[in-house]
Symmetry: none
């Protein structure tokens, strides 16, 4: 009985881990999407500033990527817990 | 009885895994969609900058794709857990 | 009683699988919708760049399609679990 309740808890952990990883991907998707949209539109408006635009685009996208990957790893660890 | 509660736990894990994978796909869809929309509109405004625009488009889309695929894999692991 | 709880667990997994597949379809729908909208509007504004626009449209739409199909497969596996 005790062992079974432990298994039920593991099921809940996997549930939360997968949902959390999905939520993190939503954040990264919307955030980096906004950055990428702004960057390509800015290059179209000012093509000679494309190097500068790309540098700033990568910088902010990497910041989002860092947090999101961290959260996905946390979700993955919860999924793999037993 | 014990075995059945174990099955219930697995059901919750599969529930969360599928929902999490769907959430990750929402993030990738909105994010890459924004980038793709911005890119084609930018090429229409400045066709001679299309190479530069495409490079930045692929770069940010790949960043989103990476996180989203990672989260979908986490969901898939939860679905396949037993 | 035991058998019934097992059925309930399977029901949760299938419920989540269907919802997750639906969420993935939301993501793909919004994302590819944004790209398609931008593409046809861009071709209307700059018809001579239509080849370039179509190439970029297909590229980003394929990226979204990849993640979304993966998530739908995860949902399908949860639905088919027993």
């Amino acid at each position: 009985m005790l062992n079974t309740m432990l298994q039920a808890a593991t099921g809940m952990a996997q549930f939360g881990g997968a949902v959390g990883a999905g939520l993190a991907a939503i954040g990264a998707g919307i955030g980096i999407g906004l950055i990428g949209k702004g960057a390509v539109e800015s290059i179209a408006r000012q093509p000679e500033a494309s190097g500068d635009i790309r540098a700033n685009m990568i910088l902010t996208a990497a910041l989002i990527e860092g947090v999101a990957l961290f959260a996905v790893i946390a979700g993955l660890l919860a999924v793999l817990s037993k």
